[in-house]
Symmetry: C2
Subunit: 318 residues, 2 copies
């Protein structure tokens, strides 16, 4: 940045960069959260921003709709990174990557495109605590983190490192905090447990389960998941991922899929109903096991009615 501040009305020459958009596109199908990927699931969809569009969001929407044939519901900017050329070479072209979170419903991907939907827990298996904490956290991740903590230079640093591990991964009887997705990824990265972190060095590092991605795409995905997990607690965004009509259990399963943890059923219903987020359609769910459930639809009116308070999660501690 210039030493002397000034209005940015005269862009300095020699400062040219390229702007890329990267999208974390989320859908939920049958209790499985999906993200749109390309290149065989090894990258998030991305491409250069073209200034034929009025704004970044417009560009993203247009592109996604061309891809999926479906309008993109909720869109939110995630983060902007500056990359200084792939090889670290100061002469290589610089780029700015602007990432977005988008919510939609899974659907056929347009013909001739290489995009498809992948389960997001393929990339972050340690994030799914719906059936309790995955065994490999205690069996595999925790010991490796402990080794990493022990490798610090002083006893104080060792303690601090381990405390950080325990907090982010809910170890030592701490509670699991589902929102710390990015912190967990970054911790694993620092501990060299993420393949992307081994900068083309030849040596093999002990790595953790989970599919890697190109460049920093998995970090971007982590950012998106974290944002979404936080958001569903105070904004009714889950409905963007639901079909027009749904049962309360389906809604619950979607929330649980995103949060990666279970919710107390009765309290979940109480919350949804007392906030008047949904209304009955009058119909009942067909093709069901057990007692048939009422069908509901989202009351779009709530978006206008109030500065919407949200859908906090009635978590269960079991």
């Amino acid at each position: 940045m210039a030493r002397s501040p000034q209005k940015s009305s005269a862009p300095a020459s020699g400062n040219a960069v390229t702007a890329d958009l990267v999208a974390v596109l989320v859908a939920v199908t049958d209790g499985a959260p999906k993200i749109m990927t390309i290149a065989g699931g090894s990258a998030l969809p991305s491409g250069p921003f073209e200034f034929t569009h009025r704004s970044l969001q417009t560009a993203l929407r247009a592109w996604v709709e061309a891809q999926t044939g479906h309008p993109l519901g909720y869109v939110e900017q995630l983060y902007t990174f500056a990359d200084r050329g792939r090889s670290g070479d100061a002469k290589s072209p610089h780029s700015v990557s602007i990432s977005y979170l988008g919510l939609t419903r899974e659907d056929k991907v347009g013909e001739g495109f290489e995009a498809h939907w992948s389960g997001w827990y393929d990339y972050f298996p340690w994030e799914d605590h719906r059936a309790g904490a995955p065994g490999f956290i205690a069996r595999s991740i925790a010991p490796k983190l402990k080794a990493w903590a022990k490798a610090a230079s002083s006893p104080t640093l060792q303690r601090e490192r381990w405390q950080r591990c325990a907090i982010t991964f809910g170890l030592d009887d701490r509670d699991w905090n589902e929102e710390l997705v990015l912190q967990r990824y970054e911790l694993l990265w620092e501990a060299s447990l993420i393949p992307e972190a081994n900068h083309s060095r030849g040596r093999e590092a002990p790595v953790v389960p989970g599919k890697p991605m190109t460049a920093d795409h998995r970090r971007i995905l982590a950012t998106g998941i974290a944002r979404l997990r936080a958001k569903i607690k105070y904004r009714p965004v889950v409905f963007e991922l639901m079909p027009a009509e749904f049962t309360l259990l389906q809604l619950q399963r979607s929330v649980e899929a995103l949060a990666g943890r279970l919710v107390h059923k009765q309290n979940f219903r109480r919350l949804i109903e007392q906030q008047e987020l949904v209304e009955e359609t009058g119909a009942m769910a067909a093709d069901t096991v057990g007692r048939p459930a009422k069908l509901f639809r989202f009351r779009h009116a709530v978006l206008a009615e109030r500065a919407v308070a949200g859908t906090k999660l009635p978590l269960s501690r079991t």
Copy 2:
């Protein structure tokens, strides 16, 4: 964005833009929230991003420290905009503006720089509700908004417009929501009550009090204020704005200054203390009216101890 998705490993030529950084730099002095401005208070500090820095944040920090001679505490990215040339001319250079929120303590600005601190309520007088809702909201803003609502084409639209006004400005006995800073600004913009909104047309529009800024800088500031008002409720970021030692009342005044509304004193103390965010220094405040207060300092340890829950605001409804 390209129709065919691909890894962004080959930036397309002809897509060059310039990247600018814009900073919302906040400090609080004697219960007055300030922002750093340039050009006589008509613009936020900004400048081109230079790729000599490793990252955007590094660039921002370096620049701010050169400006103020003080390290920048908390830094957070706000939003990235794409501007298509000043005049709307498709041939003019495109730029991407990346805005940041930074917290620091007010201090002397380095010699020879045109930057200085301005009170943020100079730009958003309607946001300060510490002495109750400002009279001109009911006297001046509300009627103008009502007129704007009435100008909608259908009765339904008129009602929706007014409902939106009432929600964002807390009219019709609704509660004031201090976080809706951006929504309020955008509403006033749509209603042509913001000077920046009158696109160099000659006609005078009825405008609302508050100092305007260059380009979209006031919108960026609104984004920053909104983000900060939300953040202080769940992250202990206020302490970045406090001196090393402070009384609980000083802390409370700072929170109130940011939130633009009053807080219940006893409950505020209860909250701060039970969360163990501070510790006594042992000393007492000097130069005081009334009973002397204990001095406290921030317990930096809490940042490590937990996935910090925050400093919710014990609002008073009076």
